[in-house]
Point group: C3
Chain length 283, copies 3
C-alpha cells in the first residue's frame, strides 16, 4: 500500500468529517458518568455537535433511535445500568448505528464487567480508551492477540504503553469491524488494517478530569457523520490541536479547561486535518 | 389597559424582586439533572440565592418545606423519581409555595411522561421551557389552545417559534394561575393575562450546556421572594443582561461561562429592571 | 506544652505531607454528591492527587482497597447508598485506612441519618464540616460535649460559630482517634488534644458551590500520605492560601473558580506550611 496516498486519503476523510459536523450539528446522546458529564456535553457543543444525556432503559433505546450516533461511558455505574446499557447497545446494533464505548474502570464491579462482557455480541463500532483498558477488553472478550495468558493479565495494570496495546487494539477493531482509539503520548487509531499514530496534544489535559471522557463524546459527534476510522481519527486530531493551543495560552489546569473549549470551538476542518498522523499497515 | 403604566409597574416589580434576592439570599432547592447541576447551583449563588440539591422522596418533601421556592428539572430521570417528584409537588401545592418546572425531554420516557401528566393536578406556578416544550405540555394536559390536534402534534418538534407557542403558554399559565416563560430569540413571559416579550440576550449561551436549566434555577430563587410573573420576568431580564455583557467580553463558549457567572453576580437591580420588555394584553 | 515547638512540629508535618503528595500522586477515591463531583475531582488533581468516583456497593469496597485514602460526602443520596456507604466504611475500618467524612445535610433524610448514625461504630479518621454539622454529629452519636440538651439542639441551625463547635469537634476527634476540621472565618482543626485555628482564606470561595466538598476531597488526598491531623491541617492551609491568591487576582465567582484550581496546582509545600496557624492545647 502507498502510505503517502493512504495518509492523503485519511486527511481528506478527517477534513470532510469536520466540515459535516460544522454543517449538520449532529446529535450524539450519551450515557456517561456524573463526574465529567458537564464537560462531555460542553465539549460536544463546542466541537459543533448536539448533546443529550439519559440513564433510564427506555430512554437509552429512544436515544439510540433519535441520535446520529451514541456514546456509552462506563464511569459511574448505577444499578439499573444492568438493563439500560445492554438494551441500548442491542438497539444500536439492530439499527446499525455508530456508537463509542469508553470502558473506563474495566476490571472493577460486577455490573460493569457483565455489561462489558455482553457487549462482545453487539460490539461498539468505536472503542476509546487507554492502553491498559484495551488490553483488558481484548482479554475479557477472549480475542486472540498473539499474547500469552501471562501478558494479558497485565491488562488491569495502568503502566502499559500504547505500543504494547497495539495487538489488542487491532484484535478488538477486527472483531467489531470498526475502529479503536488508544490515548497516550502518541495516540493510536486503528481499524484493524491501518494503524495511525497521532503525536501531539498536551499533558495539561491530564490535569483536568474528563479529557478522555469528553474525547469519547466528541468522537460520537463525528461518528454521526463519518465512518468509525475517520471519526476516531478526526476527533483525536481535534483534541491534539485544541490541547496544544490551550496549553500554549495558559499556565494552569483551571485556566486550561475553558480555553480548551474555546479552541475546540475555533478549530477549522483544514487545521484539524493538518495535524500529525503517521499511518502504517497493520501486521 | 395603559401599556406604558403596565410596563412601569412590571419594571418596579422586577427591581423589587432583584433587591429582595440580594437582601435575603433565599434558598431555592432543586431536583435537577446531573448534566448541568453544578451550573444551576453556581448560577443560583451568583444571582444572590442559596442552593441545595436532592434526589430522595423524603428529601424532596423536606426541601419543599425548607426552601422559599423549589426547582424541578426533568432532565436526567432516575427510577425513584416516580416517587420523589409527585411527592414533592404535592407538598409544594399543599404549602402553596412557588416552584419552577422545566419539562425538558417531554415526549420521551415513561416515568417523565407520567410524572409530567400528573403535575396537571398540582400545577407548577412557573413553567420555564422552549416553544416546543410548552406546546407539548399544553397538549399533554389537554388544555384548549384553539389549535387542531394536528398542530398540537407539532409540539414534540423543536422548530416551533416562540410566537407559535403563545396560545399554549397562555393556556398553561391560566391553568396554573401562575406564569410561563418561553425562551427564544425574544423570550416570552406570560401570566395568561399579560404577555411580555423580552428581546436581547446572546446566542453564545446556547453553546454552553445548561443555559435554560440554570435560568430555571435562578427563577426559583426569585420566586422565593416574588410572585410568579415578576420572578419569571426578573430572571429572564437578568439572563439577557448577563448574556449580552459576557458575550461582549469574550470570544468563545469556554471563556463565556465563567464570565457569565460574574455578570450574574454583578448585575444591579436597576440594570436588570432596565432591560427591554414589551408587554401586551393577551387576546 | 511548648506552643512554639508544637507549631514548628505542625508546620514540618504539613510541609512533609505536601511534599509527599507532589511526589506520590496518591489516589483518593470518592463517593460524593453529583453537584460538585467535577470540582472535587479537579481540585484533587490540581492539588497533586488522583481521583476516582463510584456509587455501587462492590465498587466502594474495591476502592477502599485500591485507594490510599477515601472520601465520603453525604450530599446527594441515592437509594442504594444504604448499602454502599456502610459496606465501604466497614472495609476502610477493617483495613485501618484513613478516610474523610463530610456529613453535609445532616438532619435531613432517613438514609442519610441512619448511615451517619452507623458510622459511630466505624468512625471516620477525619470529619470535615461546618460548625452546625459537627455539633449535630456529636449529638447524633450521643457524645459528651459538656453541653445541655437544649444547646445541642442548636446543632441543626446554621448560625453556630466555630468556637461554639469546639467541644463537639474535640469530642468527635476523641471518639474517632483522628481529626476534625471545621470550616469558618478562622478554620478549626483538632485531634482532641491540640486545637489549631487557621485564619485566612476568602469569602469568595463561598460563592462557588463545592468549596467545602472539594476541600474534603483534597484532605483525603493528603490523608493517603499523612496522619489525620497533618492531613486536615495541610489541606486547610492549602485552601486558605489558594483562596486568598485567587480572590486577589479575580473580581467575581466565575473567574475565581478556574484561578483557584490554578493556585491549588501552583502552591508550594513551603508556602502551604507558612500559612497562619495558631495551636492551643485542648481543655
Amino acid at each position: 500500500m502507498d502510505l503517502a496516498k493512504l495518509e492523503n486519503s485519511l486527511r481528506r476523510s478527517v477534513e470532510e468529517a469536520a466540515r459535516r459536523v460544522r454543517a449538520e450539528t449532529p446529535l450524539a446522546p450519551s450515557i456517561t458518568n456524573t463526574v465529567t458529564i458537564n464537560f462531555v456535553a460542553n465539549a460536544q457543543l463546542a466541537a459543533g455537535g448536539s448533546a443529550a444525556m439519559v440513564y433510564m432503559p427506555d430512554e437509552g433505546v429512544a436515544m439510540a433511535r433519535a441520535g446520529g450516533a451514541l456514546y456509552i461511558n462506563m464511569g459511574t455505574i448505577f444499578p439499573f445500568y444492568a438493563e439500560t446499557l445492554p438494551a441500548t447497545a442491542r438497539e444500536l446494533h439492530a439499527l446499525r448505528k455508530n456508537w463509542v464505548l469508553d470502558p473506563v474502570g474495566i476490571g472493577m464491579g460486577e455490573i460493569r464487567m457483565s455489561v462489558l462482557a455482553g457487549f462482545k455480541a453487539t460490539p461498539p463500532p468505536i472503542v476509546r480508551c487507554n492502553a491498559s483498558e484495551i488490553i483488558a477488553l481484548a482479554a475479557l472478550w477472549g480475542l486472540d492477540t498473539g499474547r500469552t495468558a501471562a501478558s494479558r493479565v497485565k491488562g488491569v495494570d495502568s503502566h502499559d504503553s500504547v505500543e504494547d496495546a497495539l495487538p489488542a487494539a487491532v484484535a478488538v477493531a477486527r472483531h467489531s469491524g470498526g475502529a479503536v482509539a488508544v490515548s497516550g503520548a502518541a495516540d493510536l487509531v486503528t481499524d484493524g488494517r491501518v494503524a495511525v499514530r497521532c503525536p501531539g496534544g498536551s499533558d495539561r489535559l491530564g490535569l483536568v478530569t474528563g479529557g478522555g471522557c469528553s474525547l469519547g463524546g466528541v468522537m460520537a459527534v463525528y461518528a454521526a457523520v463519518a465512518d468509525p476510522l475517520a471519526a476516531a481519527l478526526a476527533a483525536t486530531c481535534l483534541y491534539n490541536l485544541a490541547a496544544e493551543r490551550a496549553a500554549a495560552a495558559t499556565s494552569g489546569p483551571g485556566a486550561f479547561q475553558p480555553r480548551f473549549l474555546d479552541e475546540l470551538h475555533q478549530a477549522s476542518p483544514a487545521g484539524i486535518a493538518a495535524m500529525p498522523m503517521n499511518p502504517e499497515v497493520c501486521p
